[in-house]
Symmetry: C2
Subunit: 200 residues, 2 copies
């Protein structure tokens, strides 16, 4: 019970921090701003986070881990490389869209992260690249994909999707599901999969 309350407060702080970091930037947001938004005062935040930087890390890390997990779920699915890639891309796109502010904050505020936190995230990102590259390689070996440069393709696909954080608007023209589906279509095209229509 006590722990749940503490966890809840921590979450509330994170929510407001995300909102303000996203809107005004990390250095453009003061701890007083966050506290005011919550109706509390600055020292309150310090009972849940060691420092402003700690707060930033808590905003970024879990979201990057969710991204890797999405790719991992695609890879772990039973099915062909084509099906795995579709699932991985859809899942990753969903993370980027649903956690757009966190993703945006991470990519913008990287330089404000403490070195240890950054190192941990960089490790996670490497895992992301490895998983995606491996998936593409498997597809090439299975004869389903046609990719001259797998590493570059992984970066291109990852980038196309990550970039969504810059332009996506909630209540935009497309639903999340549509968006995920079309991103997967693009990824399959980039992987050289033929017969997109046949999978619809």
């Amino acid at each position: 019970m006590r722990d749940e309350i503490i966890a809840y407060k921590r979450e509330r702080i994170l929510e407001e921090a995300v909102k303000l970091f996203y809107a005004r930037g990390f250095t453009g947001t003061t701890l007083d701003d966050i506290a005011a938004e919550l109706g509390v005062t600055k020292p309150f935040i310090y009972t849940h986070f060691r420092s402003k930087n700690d707060l930033l890390a808590a905003v970024c890390l879990p979201t990057i881990e969710m991204s890797v997990a999405a790719i991992q779920r695609g890879v772990d699915t039973a099915g062909s490389p084509t099906e795995k890639l579709r699932l991985a891309v859809e899942g990753f796109t969903r993370v980027v869209i649903e956690r757009q502010p966190n993703i945006a904050i991470f990519f913008r505020e990287e330089k404000n992260l403490a070195p240890e936190a950054l190192a941990e995230i960089v490790q996670t990102q490497k895992k992301f690249d490895r998983l995606l590259s491996k998936l593409l390689t498997d597809g090439v070996e299975a004869g389903e994909f046609d990719i001259p440069d797998v590493s570059l393709a992984a970066l291109a696909i990852g980038g196309m999707i990550s970039w969504s954080y810059t332009w996506h608007r909630p209540n935009g023209r497309l639903s999340i599901e549509e968006l995920c589906g079309r991103m997967a279509d693009f990824a399959l095209q980039m992987a050289g999969v033929r017969l997109i229509a046949a999978m619809a």
Copy 2:
């Protein structure tokens, strides 16, 4: 002569500012840092720029304009939409790679730009999207491209390329020319152009 010297000093300030903003972030860099790197003192900078924000704008704006210009050159080329798209993508990729620090600074430090400067850049970005969307539409109408959702394709292609600023390393595995070529290949695949091999 006098004007050239002034312009040169301005350029030197910008060079160091780009270097430091890129390495440490905008707020992580002080004007004293920049001045020290140049072997001068802070007031020197103020004879060339009105404020630290002005300096940031001067780092970002021209590079975004170069990006649009690259797309424009592709569009203005005589040739088929396929050829135009290839040129546009290659040119834009080259800008992103060659001006990687400036591109990175812009996307990271957007929230630190003065509203007027940001507004100007946003206008330029809209022009970028319009040009690219128009080019894709022309290709579809000419029967060369097969794109279900042109606006989304423009964002996906633009994103795939822009993202290079996050991973590209000078002295990387691929030369700039190779990179530009392969990005163009990806873009054509995303546009549904068949027979990539036939154009090699």
